[in-house]
Each structure stands twice: as structure tokens, then as C-alpha cells.
Assembly symmetry: C2
Homo-oligomer: 210 residues x 2
Amino acid sequence: MSRDLDIRVGIIEDDETIREGYAYLIGQTDGYKVVGTYPSFEEAAKKLVHDDPDVILLDVELPGISGIDAMPKIKKLLPETHILILTVYEQELLIFRALGNGAAGYLTKNTPPEKIISAIHEVMEGGGPMSAHIARMVIGSFQRNEQSPLTRRETEILEQIATAKSRKRIAQELFIDLETVKSHIKNIYHKLNVHSKADAIKTAKDNKFI
Amino acid sequence: MSRDLDIRVGIIEDDETIREGYAYLIGQTDGYKVVGTYPSFEEAAKKLVHDDPDVILLDVELPGISGIDAMPKIKKLLPETHILILTVYEQELLIFRALGNGAAGYLTKNTPPEKIISAIHEVMEGGGPMSAHIARMVIGSFQRNEQSPLTRRETEILEQIATAKSRKRIAQELFIDLETVKSHIKNIYHKLNVHSKADAIKTAKDNKFI
DNA sequence: AAAAAATAACTTCATTAGGGTGAGATAAAT
DNA sequence: ATTTATCTCACCCTAATGAAGTTATTTTTT
């Protein structure tokens, strides 16, 4: 039975078996209602506004426009809709691009049915459901490399450089002499084996020194 | 009954009632073993290496050294130990500092007992358990402001500037003329009402334009 | 077709960046 | 107590970059 209060779910997934599997799972769950299933973004685009889902389950590999690239377009059509990524991919780059494009959650396809249901509920409540492994990767992205060769001060100065502040300004804000800043920078360059701000920042970011 | 395979849990929490509550909850759960409870980091430091927990439940507000500041010190004593933050605080700054300092998870204190147990298990399995609201904030930190006044190209160039690349180098890497880069930068400055790279980056970051 | 965005050319002037070398002061570790 | 690491500052040098102004053409999007 479908009440007005049901959470309206849309599913964009090219594999018919998976798509219909999800649709059945969600459709027979009390409190949830599948308002549309679509094999591609192009197909979904035609009906999404009419179907008006609260939550969209989105696959990342789709024929035509990829799920990730589709996200901004979906947001444009339905700004209030929450997008929940459901995929087999666990590559960092894909995950961060998806989250950056507005995903409210990111689940892998081995997620058990009851977790998918609770994840849909969770995004409606303002949560951000993620598979365990994904969550750890996301948390890991905040963490620094403890093996950094840079001292605390050097790290601090490199961070300032990464905001494109001039040496003079850095000196002023840290209450030290311009010459001191220059010394630190020279030491940073030597340690990282680089010869410019840009290269220092790249090396430091790649190695999570900053 | 405590077997050798039990997950060894330590608890650093100043409120005795809460501390003992968690200890009881975890101690009577099969597969888990409380190896130590401590009212402060200072107390914990004396016994942690001996007690050798696999997972530490850590409060952020502690007498003396705060939980967040204690994290790097704990990591030094026990590099393999997973730290799970358990707190009432949900401020963005605290959360990001905690995650940046090496937390494997972040739970709020209204987390139901069974979730705490499963979270401990999850960190042991390489997961990153977070309360729903926390997870959404973390995800939100990856997202951009869609109301950015900057065009795609301008955003791209400002991102390059944020890596401290020179205009010349940006021009080369984007296969456009130096003059074009300069034009874009001028437009960026006008739109953001700033007069330097550093200010542009600050404004853009504050508003999540980049 | 109109609007928005990306591209480029010219000027002028001030500031910054990178590299070399040395050295004193201070805090941390053992 | 004494190394050691870190932070601090000084003086040298040259070349490149950054900022602001105005105007204009081409391409893309709506």
C-alpha cells in the first residue's frame, strides 16, 4: 500500500536485473515507493521532473552520460532530490568526484538489502550513508602523512604558500622576518627536491605533507 | 568469558558514570574485552602500552590534554591502535581536527549501544563508522557552492593558482595564451572583489567556489 | 539571434621569487 | 649537561612574475 508519506525513490541503473531487483526490494518495503526506473540518464531526464523522486539511486557506469556527470544535471532538474550512489567501483578518484558532485551517500553493490533501505531513510533524515570501506577512505583523506620530512614551521609556511600568499605577507602574519621565511622555503625546497612553489605544493600534497 | 581473539578496548572518558556504562556494555558483549578505563589522557598514558588496546573510545572534552590533542600522542604510544571518537560535540571544526589527527571514526554520544559495539567491530575491519549527521557534514565538505559567480574556466584557473603555479605555466598547461590567463584572472578579481591571488583564493575557499 | 564565455593584444609599473652562504638563539631530546 | 634539531635572521645576486587598465575577436550556449 502506498501512502502520501512514502519516500519516493527513483532508480537509474543500466542492468535490468539489478534495476528491477532494487525496484522490487524497495517497492515491497512499507514506507517506500518506486516512482520510476531508468536505464540511462538520457531516459531518466525525460521523466524525472514528472516522477519527482525524493531519493535517486544512481549507478556510476551508465551508457551515454556517466552517473557522475549526470549528477549536476539531475540537481538542476530536481534541486531537492538526494542522490545515493550505488556502484561496484571503490576507486578514490571516483568516490571523491561523486561526493564533490553532490552525492548524499555512496554504497557499494554488495550492500545487503536492509542496509540499502536504511540508507535511503538516512539520506532523507540528513545523514550520509557510506559503505564501511568508503567511509574509511573518506576519513583517510583528511589525514596527514606522519613521515613528513618537514618540520612544523616548514609545514605551516608551505600551507601559507598554498594559499598563494607572498613571502612578505607570510612573514607579517607569522611575526617573523622575511629572511626567515626565505630560509624556511629554501629548506623546504631542498628537502622536497624542488625549485618552485608549485612543485613544492604538488609534492607535499601528493605525499600528504600538507 | 574472554578469549584471546577478543577485541581489546580501552576507554578514555572523564565522566565516571558514562565510562563505567560503556565498560559494562562492552565487557559483557561476547568477543569484546575492556582492557582499561581512564579518566584522562594523563592517566591513560601510564598504562596504555601495557594494556595494549586494539581500539580506544575517546572523549574529546577531557580534563588536562583534550582528546583531540591526545590523539597524536596515543598514536605514538600505540601506532596500530584505532581511535574511535565518542562525544557530544558536532562542530565542524572539531570533527575535522579529530579526523585529521587520525580518528578512525566519530560517533555522538546518543549512539545506541548496539551501534557502538558494531562501530568498534567496523574500525577493526577497516571501516570508518560515523554518526549520520557527522557523515553528511564530512560529505558536505567535498561539495562546491553551485551559486559560484565564476565560470568553469575561471574556476579551473583559480584552482591552478591555488597550486601556486605561475600564470605562464598555467597558460602552457591549458594550451592558451598568457594574455588569456591574465584576462581570466582580472575577471576573477572583479567578480570576487579582490586584488591579489591570496585574497581570491581565500574568498573562493570560504565560499566553496573552489 | 542575443547573451555569455573564452580567447587575445597592447600598455605601464611595482613586487616577488629563486639561489647561495653563513650564523646566532632556543628548544628538545638523551 | 651537551649534542641535535629547529627556528631565526643577514647580506649577496639576477630574473621573472603580478596587477591594472582598455579593447576586441571568436566560440559556445541559450
